[in-house]
Amino acid sequence: MVDHSTEAPGNAGAARRRVFQIVPQGAPKGNGGGCGTKGGGGKTGCAAAGPGDLPPALWERIKDHPCYSEEAHHHFARMHVAVAPACNIQCNYCNRKYDCANESRPGVVSEKLTPEQAARKVIAVAARIPQLSVVGIAGPGDALANAAKTLRTFELIQQAAPDIKLCFSTNGLSLPDHVDAIKRFNVDHVTVTVNMVDPEVGARIYPWIYFRNRRWSGTEAARILSERQLEGLKELTAAGVLVKVNSVMIPGINDEHLVEVNRAVKARGAFLHNIMPLISDPAHGTHFGLTGQLGPTPAELKALQDRCEGEIQVMRHCRQCRADAVGLLGEDLSADFTLAKLDAEPAYNPGARRAYREFVEKERADQRAAREQELKKVAGAWPGLKIQVAVATKGSGCINQHFGHASEFQIYEVSAAGARFVGHRKIDHYCLGGYEDDEAMPSILEALNGCAAVLVAKVGHCPRRELEQAGIEAVEDYAHEYIGASALRYFERYLARLKQGAAAGAA
């Protein structure tokens, strides 16, 4: 129903872009989308689902930040500039020797940048991607272990492109030393990785830290790190900066403990808690990879996120991206924006971004309205029944991707209370040469495990049959419509079948 190929006004580099599609204004007439439909409850299932979940001033600060708002992540893009290679701690899930251009995970980059190169890259990306709203510094080391480079980069970007938000992530060891500078450079969002508040737990995650000109190890290192993290967190939130806390879930080491971490960071004013799965592979050469430490399953991760959900919002849409990632979360265009490929004199053009933001504002209101309309139809139906539905999307909050082209599926938990985003599942391999790729199917079925249906723009006959045999319905009926409302419409259909006794039971 919606043609997603029209470009935003003023987007000069359109011909070269291949992924970002802008929906023309006013075109969609579909049905609501997004995540969580509770208004005014103050708590949601996912990071800031909509304006109803937060005080208006706070919503204004996060609504276009793809990491801080789940709803924003369908529409807005981020980029990381890799100006911070040095680190001041060692984590057992990180190996600084390893680098791979084809991998997408934290700490990985294909080229490091100087602050000047970073500013040039930001302007070049912004000129071609009007969805860009945020520039972050996420390593590949620690942003504040390279404070001079990080702050210089902020200064240059602010001069060159003042409409773009700045943020960074840190392990927190140097954080208390830089609170004033963070305020001075108008950095509104900071992410601190807090994996423990108990030094005994910390000693199993951090072999050493470098602090005050010496190396510390064991519980002493973990104690210093934890004190500095919590102190920095408290000072930053007191200074009015929005702080997200990232925690890496390491089964058997800090999984239970993260509930305590959640309480500790909440007490110090953290705005959002992002619990991420450990990425562990012997090929990465990390301590955890080499010792066979496993990451959590999606179900274990979700269970912990559910436990931590409460007064503080829990982020579930993190894609654990590279330190030089570019694009919407879940996609990475970094290879298109290496230094060698940048335009010589990129022009600063805030007009296209402003137009895009205005469009998204209307689009989101439309999606919310449609979603609420659908919600009324299922209100009160079958209390307690929840199903999971997978969605193939390439952004804009719409079901707009072919099944065979998806590199990940977004998972929504749907009940009479609403459709809420609960996570994404990456698939190891995605199909490029057709839809009958036998090798891809097992990993896709595993990714879709537990889902009643997968909502797609299109799906071939063979995968549809295989999905059906696995008890997953492939649905094309909502192609190019809004995600949230479509999930609710599917739920309505599912309910009707349940009532007729035709359904085989809850998946």
Binding site: P85, A86, C87, R96, P140, N146, Y210
Partner: protein, 73 residues
Amino acid sequence: MAYKIIASQCSGCSACEPECPNNAIREKDGVFLIKPEKCTECVGYFDDPQCVAVCPVENTCVIDKSVPRYAAA
């Protein structure tokens, strides 16, 4: 003696460069080098050689035995 950085192990992260009290470290071709004539092994500055303490790759900043010991020089 002075410290040296084993180039094949250097990740080029630059952590050592600003920590050196003697400005003895610089980048060349993506990895870092210590100028032996400038290195004092951090004697007189810190208890531990800073490049060793901050380097993320073990056994990468090591004593260069081909150079006379700093204190003896």
